[in-house]
Point group: C2
Chain length 726, copies 2
């Protein structure tokens, strides 16, 4: 019996070989990739890139240093490159069959098996979820995802003794730390937990540890209230919008896809990719719709503007998605920009399609689209109104979501405008220099909370110089804005209206934004913002524009020899007050130049308003802020309305020294009616009248209305030069 | 007899047909172009572009409005597009033979023949050289160049009576105005006069008017002291450097080449393209060497940074140059970027070469090059030190020219650094929004003289907060800096040293700048700037950097809640003082990030220095300035030296969240010796020593020197890690 047991143990590696790898790909899949590796240039290139990186380390003693530095520092970057090296070497082992690749991974794992049991919390840890190998647990979870796959990939090459050493030494301390010491964090509904669950789950599959996989799927208590399935159910709206916004779906999509792909092999009965009507497919497609022409993710919530869809996370998701959901022309377009594929079946499919040259669109297939927010889709949402094709695309984003967890901004009813690939009305994003050690270890800088998250940093209304919900996340998390009506089917007349009644006590805010292309081709955005209150307030509506100020219709005093901040708190202290003016009963206009196009903001002033020109950069001793301009309209009173037009016009050609249509066409604006029932706006554009009538309390598509001399059906109507255009 | 005369007059058009066209091309050349028009895609495209623009106007009544608006306004832009339309239509007439094109031109000319005799000075004219059709005479000269060619191109289609009407009505008032009313301006040695002479000369050829041609060639007095030949002799140095710098040679090159090309047909005996050892060829090649990787002209003197070599002026020069001087791979590279050729023989050659796909380099063939300044080449000059290939090109510009006429800046011994296509140490250029009517009619804005031309706007020494020559052009024009020694043959060790002793009374300035690539590949610039005086002075050395401040080695107080200007005059009033620090006996370091690369300025402080962080934008009520940062080192005393290193290092990868080598390698700096004879600098870089020894009074290549423990031959020597590297 004892002998049999020994024989069994000795045979184990052979017997178990059929079960590994299971995470990144299977043995069959690896063989299929190998067959095509020299067939399609993109696949060959991706393979050679990985191979040349890994080959540099063959036969060398790779450093596994004792953790010391924050992000951007040596030990941080070393451990980060180590897990990628282990993973890539594991992939190469399976494709080439060459044991030197397995050996490299094993030697590194044996070092981690020595190191990991000795680790306490990282010396640079500052957050409530400290890491051990890294300064934050999130990075340790990253390590588990890739190290887990690497281990699975070389599993067959190891002896039982080696496996035990690695599983007990390298993995167990990390998994225990994350699932026990950091249990509350592991059980969050948050992008960190997606990584944590994926890490623990992939290690579970790699080490044949059912307990790990179950905890990963259903939470440390295995009750399903937390864990991967709950994260698939809780962080996405039914249509795929991610609670934290586009920048973070970019980050979370990788563990979602990699763990799902592993589960697809290890627990096929889960049908994980079909879960919730293919929520992972919807998530990817929604993420890509939330990018600019240049592939950068829209800067909603905390976001770095450099991040685009060529990141490793999207390369991974697109290769896996192509494998499980099939070919998609939009994904192929992105994959071509990425110029890199995973060495899996999806990667082969993409490389083959790109080599054939067929089906490749010239631009990503952007279209107007609206997403709900919240797991049930009942917590507001965001609309992306689009007009134009190719390079001439205009995108108007209207955001009326819930807060968006810890990276959310106080930006209810905010909008942003992109045109021709440029950001025109901007969101600051986050204040952070990722990976730059000198800048606070690459972490979020204090100006993120202090400025970028505050309401004044957005293109939405600030009441009494305070942020929405008084800038309190715990309060903000309880509320969301609400869509009133929208229409996105006619590209020439698109609209979305939403309301927010909780951000400021006693103030009801309602905003409708229109993206119009009027007969003749001119594009404009019209913004009807009403704030109603029984008490007196100060209302500030900022326009954060990107461009050079060309002209204003109003006079201002500019603070040319002394600058002071615009205010003292809630983000105002970060704005220099550069100029100030007062206007009465007029249309205040400001023209700016962005790249080669002119843009003019025209805003109706009934009675009186103060106008400010401001610039970011005050109270910024470490020079963390970009010195970008803003135009702010201030009104005081009980109820106030802000009716504004942003007109896209003309062309600046510095090469040939021509400027055309540098002046705005908007000549007059009138608020013909504005009450609980209706807002009726008349805008005179180059002598012709644009009339917009909208309902403020009846949003039924079939209701018939008569007001201001016009009749219409449904929540809004638009006329140009006397003809109805919607 | 009378009958014979009448017959002769009637026959005249026929008899004269052989003599026209002569300006843009000849009848034979037109036939050759026609033959190939559908043969080479670039030629076909260029032809179709012109044709589709002109065809829009066929059969229409083109407006020739009474002049009213400045640049950017309707009448300005209309007259500008009119002369191009007449010219293009004239070209099409000769290529297609279709009389409708001639008719369009004739009808427009007949309107100008009515308009021009009625014109007085333009209502918007402000300069000493007012225009009539346009707000400045320069634009009227542009009109003459193109209208002259247009007339020549349709000459054969006109009756004698029509010719008389046009020559007397459209041309004579303009030529008289320019050569008589504006005689001093016409006779200038300045880019305006190049246009004026070309205009009058081309009209002369087109109208068979020898008097006009002679005035154009030899000045209104026909004594050769002014006029086109004198302008070829006077505005270029013998090696082709243009007195006003690269931005303006870009502008002047067109009338030079078009008039020369006309003369080549009309007065071949002049051999104009061979004049002064092919000075026009040298001028073009020198202009192109003074561009950045992206084709924009280096922003020396008054310059707009958007201007690149795809402008119409360069398209014209390159097509003509290819015709007269033959094919050149560099010119072909630029022509491909321009994606447009003239419809002349040179254009055919270029289109044929590009169609063949051979000989096209991947980058413009930039190389290290030095130019002298002044007609005799004895008024200083400028050096362009280059290292690296392709996208990794680094260019260090050292400017020690004469003043550069009215668009010159007070920038003696200034340098600028470009790297990887980006401007790293910047020149502001000019403050101007060309073609933007709202910005002062597109003219130079007051901030050009007030800030951009002042010394503080440059990377060179400012003594006592005054500009060079006290900011007086009349004084500056009498002096120039002088090169002491240089070496550009070894790409790893390049240097240029120059002195300036007249910019500040009683202060002698000498600066040597080195562009080094040390063993291992690191690139750095070393700057040794000595100022010697018998009296006490305040010395400010600014570094205008383009990038985000990442870190400083020194402490500073930052003016976070109140900003005031750095000074009161000479450009200082346009700089906000953002921070100030004081250091002693140290190496002051400042690291910034530009695009994806880190740059660190390290500057030796012996004894004491004040350090300032400043930003453009103060005293700028119309928001004309870009808000760019500067780092300023201030020292006080009699003699002062500034030894600085700019190190190019590391990589910032926000997509993959890696930063490498974000910290500088320069650790220590020592000035081992610094006197009348020698400057010996020791720089410790990552533990190894870089030693630079230079002579300050003996620049003989054969002199042997011993100082500071080392011996060398010639004006300088460099050692790294104990080994000589130059």
């Amino acid at each position: 019996m004892r002998l049999l047991k020994t024989i069994c143990l000795l045979l184990m590696p052979v017997l178990l070989q059929a079960q590994h790898p299971l995470t990144f790909f299977t043995r069959t899949e690896a063989a299929a990739v190998k067959k095509d590796i020299n067939r399609y240039p993109l696949l060959t290139r991706s393979y050679n890139e990985i191979k040349s990186e890994v080959d540099l380390w063959l036969g060398k003693d790779v450093d596994v240093p004792f953790p010391k530095d924050p992000a951007g520092g040596y030990t941080h970057d070393k451990h980060k490159s180590n897990y990628m090296l282990m993973f890539n070497s594991g992939v190469l082992y399976n494709i080439t069959g060459d044991s030197k690749y397995a050996l490299l991974v094993k030697q590194m794992f044996l070092k981690y098996a020595v190191l990991n049991p000795t680790l306490k919390n990282h010396p640079q840890a500052t957050s409530s979820s400290p890491g051990r190998i890294f300064w934050q647990a999130l990075n340790d979870a990253n390590w588990l995802v890739y190290a887990g796959m690497a281990y699975d990939l070389i599993y067959n090459s190891l002896t039982a003794a080696e496996r035990k050493t690695i599983e007990d030494g390298a993995f167990k301390p990390e998994v225990d730390f994350i699932t026990k010491d950091l249990e509350p964090w592991f059980n969050l509904i948050h992008n960190h937990a997606v990584w944590a669950c994926a890490g623990v789950g992939i290690v579970g599959i790699a080490t044949n540890n059912k307990e790990y996989v179950d905890m990963a799927l259903y939470g440390s208590k295995k009750d399903g209230k937390t864990g991967f399935i709950a994260l698939m159910d809780g962080l996405f709206a039914p249509d795929g919008y991610y609670a934290e916004g586009p920048y973070y779906v970019r980050y979370a999509i990788l563990p979602y896809y990699l763990f799902a792909s592993s589960l697809n092999n290890a627990r096929p009965q889960l049908k994980i990719f079909e879960h919730r009507n293919r929520i992972l497919q919807k998530a990817l497609m929604a993420g890509l719709q939330q990018t600019n022409l240049d592939g950068t993710f829209f800067a909603l919530n905390d976001a770095l503007k450099e991040k685009d869809y060529t990141t490793n996370e999207l390369v991974t998701a697109i290769s896996v998605a192509t494998n499980v959901y099939g070919k998609d022309n939009g994904l192929l377009f992105v994959a071509k920009k990425q110029d890199r594929v995973l060495l899996n079946k999806g990667g082969v499919t993409i490389a083959a399609e790109i080599a054939s040259g067929k089906n490749l669109p010239a631009y990503y297939p952007y279209h107007s689209v609206e997403y709900t927010d919240g797991a049930k889709g009942n917590e507001g949402g965001a609309s992306f109104l689009r007009n134009g094709t190719g390079k001439d695309l205009t995108t108007l984003i209207s955001k009326y979501t819930s807060h968006g967890l810890s990276h959310g901004h106080y930006d209810k009813l905010n909008y942003n405008l992109y045109d021709k690939g440029n950001e025109i009305l901007t969101d600051y994003g986050a204040v952070r220099f990722i990976g730059v050690e000198q800048k606070y270890g690459g972490r979020y800088l204090p100006e993120t909370k202090g400025y970028a998250q505050q309401t004044i940093a957005h293109n939405t209304l600030v009441v009494d110089e305070k942020s929405h919900y008084d800038g309190k996340e715990s309060v903000a998390e309880n509320f969301h804005a609400e869509k009133l009506f929208s229409s996105i089917t006619n590209p020439s007349v698109q609209v979305v209206a939403a309301k927010e009644e909780n951000a400021y006590q006693g103030v009801k805010m309602q905003r409708a934004v229109y993206l119009l292309q009027i007969p003749g081709g001119k594009k404009l955005m019209v913004d009807v913002f009403n704030a109603n209150s029984k008490g007196d307030h100060q209302y500030d509506l900022p326009f954060h524009f990107d461009g050079t100020l060309i002209n204003t219709s109003f006079k201002y005093d500019s603070f040319t020899d002394k600058l002071e901040p615009l205010g003292k708190k809630n983000g105002y202290q970060y704005l220099w007050k550069e100029a100030e003016g007062t206007v009465k009963d007029t249309v205040a206009q400001l023209t700016f130049l962005n790249d080669r196009t002119y843009y003019t903001i025209s805003s109706l002033v009934q009675d009186k308003a103060s106008l400010f020109l401001a610039r970011k950069g005050a109270n910024d001793p470490n020079f963390n802020l970009r010195h970008e301009p803003a135009f702010i309209i201030r009104k005081k009173g009980e109820n106030q309305s802000f009716v504004s037009v942003l007109e896209i016009h003309g062309k600046f050609d510095p090469i040939n020294e021509f400027s055309s249509n540098a002046y705005p066409s908007v000549q007059q604006m009138k608020l013909i009616q504005n009450d609980d029932q209706f807002s009726i706006v008349e805008i005179t554009i180059a002598g012709k009248k644009l009339l917009i009538a909208q309902n403020n309390n009846d949003f039924n598509n079939k209701s018939i209305h008569t007001a201001g001399g016009v009749s219409w059906t449904g929540p809004f109507a638009t006329w140009y030069d006397g003809k109805k255009i919607n």
